[in-house]
Every structure is written in structure tokens, then in C-alpha cells.
Amino acid sequence: MSASVLPEGLDTFPKLLARNAGQWANVPAYREKEYGIWQSWSWSEVHEEVNALAMGYVALGLNEGDYVAIIGRNRPSLYWAMLAAQAAGAIPVPLYQDANAEEMAYVLEHSGARFIVAEDQEQVDKVLEVQDRLPAVEQIIYYDKRGMRKYEHKHLNAYEDVQAEGRAGHARLMPVLKERQEKLDENSTCVMLYTSGTTGKPKGVVLSNANIIASAKASSEFDSLSAGDSVLAYLPMAWVGDFIFSIGQACWTGFCVACPESPETMQADLREIGPSYFFAPPRFFEGLLTNVMIRIEDASPMKKWLFHKYMAHAKKVGPDLLDGKPVSFGDRLKYRIGELLIYGPLKNTLGLSRVRVGYTAGEAIGPEIFEFYRSLGINLKQLYGQTEASVFITQQPDGEVRADTVGVPSPGVELKIADNGEVFYRSAGVFVEYYKNPESTAGTKDAEGWVATGDAGFIEESSGHLRIIDRAKDVGKMADGSMFAPKFVENKLKFYPDILEAVVFGAGRENCVAFINIDLGAVGNWAERNNIAYASYQELAGHPQVLDSIQSHIEEVNKSVAADEMLSGCQIHRFLVLHKELDPDDGEMTRTRKVRRKIVGEKFDDLVAALYSDAKSIHTETEVTYEDGRKGAISATLELRDVAVVPVKREVAA
């Protein structure tokens, strides 16, 4: 990048932080609930904490250009650890905290991190377990002191102590920081983020200051975010979105980032914080809706009636009201009453009352789920992004929100669609390279800066919005040549509260079949109300009545799929309910919880084969990995069911 895309003097994070410490000295920058109380740090306090840690790093021997791995859940201290790495001229590499030692070893080895900042004993243990394979690792810094007393502290330091050392050496170390920071500019590496690896080994995506700050700036302006906004940071720190929101946009606009007390209290903390800017993957919104529906099922008949009556009205006019389209006076009035009785209290309970801008991305969201939140008056929008793009490729402007598109190109992004349907983009946010992997870099980014997304889609003529069909690799043809887009069907299935996950197979086949994962919460609640006894997930998943209800859902979905001209061939002919939940620990999903279709297909190839045979049931044995890495096996006999399909005239796609 030759021409500067950033304002003078704001091209690195140390500079942004210094500006914020001056401009918003007493404005809360980070909050965290601890000991039951929301603690907060202003920008000037954050600046001091970050500098103290950065000086501590230097005192411990951190060099310019070193990689600092950060492992833990969202906590202000760990965000500061990243900012401090930048302040000391090093490069932060956040890792997925729920990764097992094996996965962690790969990333640590590949990045060659010399310093590791770990949240607690659990993370330190994981690093120590694989340390003999990581000769580069020199220092481990831990934040939570609990249980750490007995460890050998030769290369182990408490976060607090490192900061104290930094503060003590202020006179000696500050000039070093200053000198290092002067050498940084917009082309310096800002952060290295590892892709979740839907396919194969994770790749280290190198993003420069220009990438991150330009993206943060453009997206903040797109939604007019300001220092008055607030977000809740609960998504993995290793994910690019969290880096953009909790560091990029936060430092750019000065808004406040709140961290939950613990992962389990996220929902309660969300309600207490009431963020104005909120991001969640479709899975979150699905889960939330499932919870609401479970609770409504348990409510008194009066409440149930009221809920359904007003939700029907909201569905009718809510989205239009949000988009500013004309709505009759009577409908407006009824909506206002609904707001008072149902929508308002519901949004408050969900912690979404103050959401001004909400985004969902990562995967397509079921249209019905999307509409549910929009109809409540929550400005939920979709965006389409990638780590390689510093998140933003397309997003939906206010007033042009639809469930089936992902919006118009974000400011400064160019799009083009290749002949095979694959989407390409070019922007200021485009990554520098894959770390130590020039072949992949060349394979993804061409000389002119166009990046392949790996997704197939098209730009809608009428609106100029991008529509994503599926992963380019997943979109295929069925035996008769009609188009096969599994995600399209899966998303429809996942709208049902009792279906957690669905995997559809059918590429190159006569017809489609599906694996279903039930949602233990929803189905368990239903079983309880209907006096159905079960001892395990497996038993519940195989219960005939559960299968009956899943079957009826699939038949509904088949009807709606049949209505789509292009994809009517994707109706599901046979299905089974899996005896175990798909799990990242077993490699069936990524750490961001996206299904690895190919791996699932290979791992359960006996089940796929059985679905394409005439068998009525199949016995299978599956290896499972427990959280601590031990392995076990579960065996089950699964029932295979046929589903009614809607006959359609097959028009072979050209």
C-alpha cells in the first residue's frame, strides 16, 4: 500500500491509545464484572496499565518483532496484553482458549512466540504440557495467581509483577518504548490471527495497522459509532471480529468494552450492560430464541396467548416500522401496545433493549430467526466478512436489511464475481500475507490484490446486495445436474428449536439425506413436559417420539425447499438423528462452531452409506474425545427414517 489511508498521527495503536488517554481521559474504556461489581478503567488508566505491562515485557527481554501469544477468555487485562505487545514493538497473537494442548502447540510452534500471556493455571498447564516442543517459548506470564504458587517460577511471572517491574524501571524503560514506537507505522504488523481452519491446518493471517485501523474507521463511520456506545466482549479473542470490535473500533471511536464475569454469566451480564452495539453469531440468536420459546411453552395459557398474538402482529409490521416504511395508524397503535406488554419486557430480559446496531455474521442466519428479532424492533443486520479482509466485505445499511442477502460492499471494498460464482474482493483491509506460507498467500490473493473468499454468491440486480449461496466447495451438483446447496437447507432446519445442528449430504447423489443433532435443552424440556423418561443424550436422541417430531419438521422444510426454483432438488429424502453432539474436540466443528462437512462425512461414512441404502437401522461405534484429551467410544443403534417429499418437476440447471 503506497498512499496512506489513515489520518496523520493515528496510524498505530500506541498512538491511538495516547490520543484516547488525552481526549477521553475519564471516559470508561474497559469494564469487567469482578466480585459482583462492574469495575471500570478509563482511557487514561488503560494507557497507564498498558505502558506498565509493555515496560515489564521489555524488562523481561521482549524484542521488537517478537510474537506474544495471548490465551484466555475476554478480560480487559488480556486486551491490554495485546496493546502492550504493540506498544513494545511486538506482535500479539491471540489463541482460542478452549483449544486443547495439541492445537495450541501447532499455533505456538508456527508463530514462534517467545512470550505467552495466559489467563490462569489451566492455560499455563496446557502450555507446559507441550513446552518441550516449543523451544522458542521463553517467558510465560499468567494473570490469575490462583493455584500457581507451587510452580517453578524460573520462566513464569505473574502479570501484576511484570507490571510492577515495568513501573519500577520507568525511567530506564520508557525511552525504549518511545524509540520502538517511533519505528512503527501503518505498514507494521498489527496482529496475527489464526483462521479457525474449516479445512486443514490453521493459517496465520498477518494484518497491518493500516488493515485494522482503516477497517475500524470505515465500519465505525458506516454505523456512526461513537464514544458513547458500549459493547459486550464475549466472543473468542482469537477471532478477527473480536479484535476489530474490542480493540480496533474501541480504540478508534473510544467506546466502552465490557467483559463478562464468567462465560456462564454472559446472559445476565448482557442484561446489566445493555450494550448499544452488539455482535453475535447466528448460533447465539438461535439459542436465545430457543430459550424464549421453551420459557413460553412453560408459561400460563394467558401469557402464552398474549405472546403469540402480539408476536404475530410484530411479524406483520415490525420490520416495516424498523425500515421506516409506511404503516397504518391502527397497526402502529397496536404495535405500541405490544411494545408495552411484550416486546419491551422481552428485549429487556434478553439484554437487547438498547441495541442500536446489531450484527450477525459467520454463517447464514435462518430467515425466521432473523425476522423474529427485527420484528421486536431490534436493528439486527447481517454482514459478510473474513479474517483476511479484517472482517468487513459487505454489510447491510440501515433501512435495507433483508434476511437473504448480506448487504452492499462496505465502504472502500470492491467486489467481483468469478465465472464459477466465487466472490472476490479488494479493500484496504486485505491482509498482508499468510505467515510462513507464501503458496497459500499466492493462492488466495492475486497480484492486483483481489482475494478469493471461497464462497459462491451473486449480486442481486435489483438491490445491488450480495447473496451468498454456500461455500464454493460445498455447492455442487446432484446426480441429475440440479444445484446442491446444503447450507440453504440446513439453515431452514436449524430454525426449529429442537434442531441444534443439521448436516445435509447429496453432492453427486440421486437425492439428499441429513444428519440431525437435537438441542438437548429444548428436547429435554419437551420430554419433561410429556413425561418421557430418558437417561442420556443418546437415549433421548433415539426416542421414537423425538424422531416423529424431527420428521415432521423436515417435511415442513421440504415443502419450503420445493418452492425454490433453483434448489427444489435439495429436499431431504432420509434422515437420522446422531447419537452424539458434533463437537470441536472431536474435530467435527471448528472452534468457532462451524460444521466441518467433509470430516463429518468421512467420520460417519457408515451412516451416510446406510442412509443411501434401504436399511431401517444401523449399529455404529464412534470415538469421542473428552475435554481433557482422553478418548472413549460410544456405540448406538440408530433408526433411519424416510421423509415425505414434495414432487417437483426437475428443471435441469443449465
Binding site: K33, E34, Y35, G36, I37, R146, G147, R149, K150, E261, S262, E264, T265, A268
Partner: protein
């Protein structure tokens, strides 16, 4: 004054165990004609995890109740921090810094986790009832101080998510944890745990073991526990007393106890005729 035996020892994992916190000398407890505890002598030392094990009806819980002051032994003497203890009421003993949990959970089911743990601070509250009712002046300050200690316990036991949940609605394993929390809130010098792992599944047992070890490590609390599950006991305790039919049949490190013939007989079942 009695001799405070100063001979400390070092555990295999490197903790230094201090002098005697509690010493039971020749304790005998009878209920009418039934002898629940027969002439038992043992001690508990500063900073150690001391287990009392034995088959059903061996007198383990009775022993805990004697330490706790709920039962008064007919014979024998108890020395606490080197001083002979006079017969006392349980609340007086609690004030001395001995807290306990119960075999069958004894929480206030309708109260939240937070309130239940707050009750553990009762002995540390000095302001009077009226001030507390008005929540004015020193009472307010005191409440905040105590709340802070309670919040630290909640953080320690990782039960933030159930802070406001009525304990009656919690699963068994969590209720056990709340009960431990209440005992910890009292900041005891000696913590008595009556079957902390009874009725738990393997994962819950692992969690509870972790917490017991962490409490001991982090706060230096001396812990005496009764437990059925031999595996768990042998893993986490420093020294073990084995009881059978009210008598002490073994006392020593887990390894010593494991190889003790009397203990093996008691557990594998030998004709007691």
C-alpha cells in the same frame, strides 16, 4: 499448658505442615449402652488435609460432631491450639474458627446462593440487630466488607452464575459447593467436611477435590474430612485416620494406611465374630 508438639513435617508435594491444631486424646463417646467412639487418640496439624475414613457406622460422623462440639464425649480430652477445651456449645466452637459442612446438605433452600454464603459471615458481624435492620452507619460498612469476602468466595468456587439463584433450585453438586462456600466465608482455621463428595458423579468429585486442594493451598486452611470414596481420600489427604466399629485401626500417610492389614480387613470384610 500442654506441649505444642513443634515437630513439623514436609509433604511429598512440598508443603510444610506445622504443629498440632487439634488434638483428641482418648476420646470415648457413648449413647446409652452403645459405644460410638472407643478410646480414640489422634491429632490434626496446621495446614494439613486430614481424612477420617471407615466403613458405614464406624463412628466417623460422630467424631466430627465431637470436634464440632455437637456431642460431648464421656471420656477424653480435646486440645485446640494447645489449650484444653472445656465443654462448649457448637456456636462457641464456631467462634473459635471451626467451620463445617454436612453430609446431607443443610442450606436455606429458599434463599439465594449469595444469602446462604452471607450467613457464613454471621460470627464476624459485630453491629447489633437494630443497626443492621436500619442498615445505617457501621452496619452498612460492615455489610459491604462482609459482602466483599463472600464475593471472593463466590469467585473462588466459580459460582458467579448462580449468585442470585435460590439454592433449592440448584443441582446437588452445586448445592454441595455452596455449602462449602458458606463454611469458607467464615474464614475458618479448621474446616470440617462431612462426606463432601457423597452422591456426586466422577466429574463433580474431581471438581470438589480440586476445590479442597485449592482451599488448602490458597488460604492455608487446615482441613479434616470424612469420606467414603477411598480413591479420592488417598489422592488428596496428607494423613488418614481409619476407624472401624468406633475404634481407630490405622493412622498414617495414605501409603501406610493402604498397606495396613487391619484396614484391608475392615474394607474387604473379614469375619468379625
Amino acid at each position: 499448658m500442654n506441649d505444642m508438639n513443634p515437630d513439623s513435617y514436609v509433604t511429598p508435594d512440598g508443603r510444610t505442615i506445622g504443629g498440632k491444631v487439634l488434638e483428641m486424646r482418648n476420646i470415648t463417646l457413648r449413647f446409652g449402652g452403645v459405644v460410638a467412639i472407643k478410646n480414640i487418640t489422634f491429632d490434626i496439624r496446621e495446614g494439613e488435609i486430614r481424612a477420617i475414613i471407615g466403613p458405614n457406622g464406624a463412628g466417623k460422623s460422630s467424631m466430627l460432631n465431637v470436634i464440632n462440639g455437637f456431642y460431648h464425649p464421656q471420656e477424653g480430652e480435646i486440645y485446640f491450639h494447645g489449650e484444653k477445651r472445656k465443654p462448649m456449645k457448637p456456636y462457641q466452637i464456631a467462634k473459635q474458627g471451626i467451620a463445617r459442612t454436612f453430609q446431607n446438605i443443610a442450606l436455606f433452600k429458599g434463599m439465594s446462593t449469595l444469602d446462604n454464603i452471607m450467613t457464613g459471615r454471621f460470627n464476624h458481624m459485630k453491629t447489633n440487630f437494630f443497626l443492621q435492620m436500619l442498615w445505617k452507619g457501621p452496619a452498612e460498612k460492615e455489610e459491604a466488607e462482609n459482602r466483599e469476602i463472600v464475593e471472593k468466595v463466590i469467585d473462588f468456587l466459580e459460582i458467579q452464575a448462580i449468585r442470585k439463584t435460590p439454592v433449592g433450585a440448584l443441582p446437588y453438586g452445586l448445592q454441595k459447593r455452596v455449602e462449602l462456600g458458606r463454611a469458607l466465608a467464615a474464614q475458618p482455621r479448621l474446616l470440617l467436611l462431612d462426606e463432601p463428595m457423597a452422591g456426586m458423579n466422577v466429574e463433580e468429585k474431581e471438581d470438589m477435590s480440586r476445590f479442597i486442594l485449592d482451599v488448602n493451598d490458597e488460604f492455608g486452611t487446615t482441613i479434616a474430612l470424612i469420606e467414603h470414596d477411598m480413591g479420592v481420600v488417598m489422592d488428596i489427604s496428607d494423613r488418614v485416620v481409619v476407624m472401624d466399629y468406633g475404634k481407630k485401626i490405622g493412622d498414617g500417610t495414605p501409603d501406610e494406611v493402604r498397606n495396613n492389614q487391619a484396614v484391608i480387613d475392615a474394607y474387604l470384610g473379614v469375619d468379625h465374630g
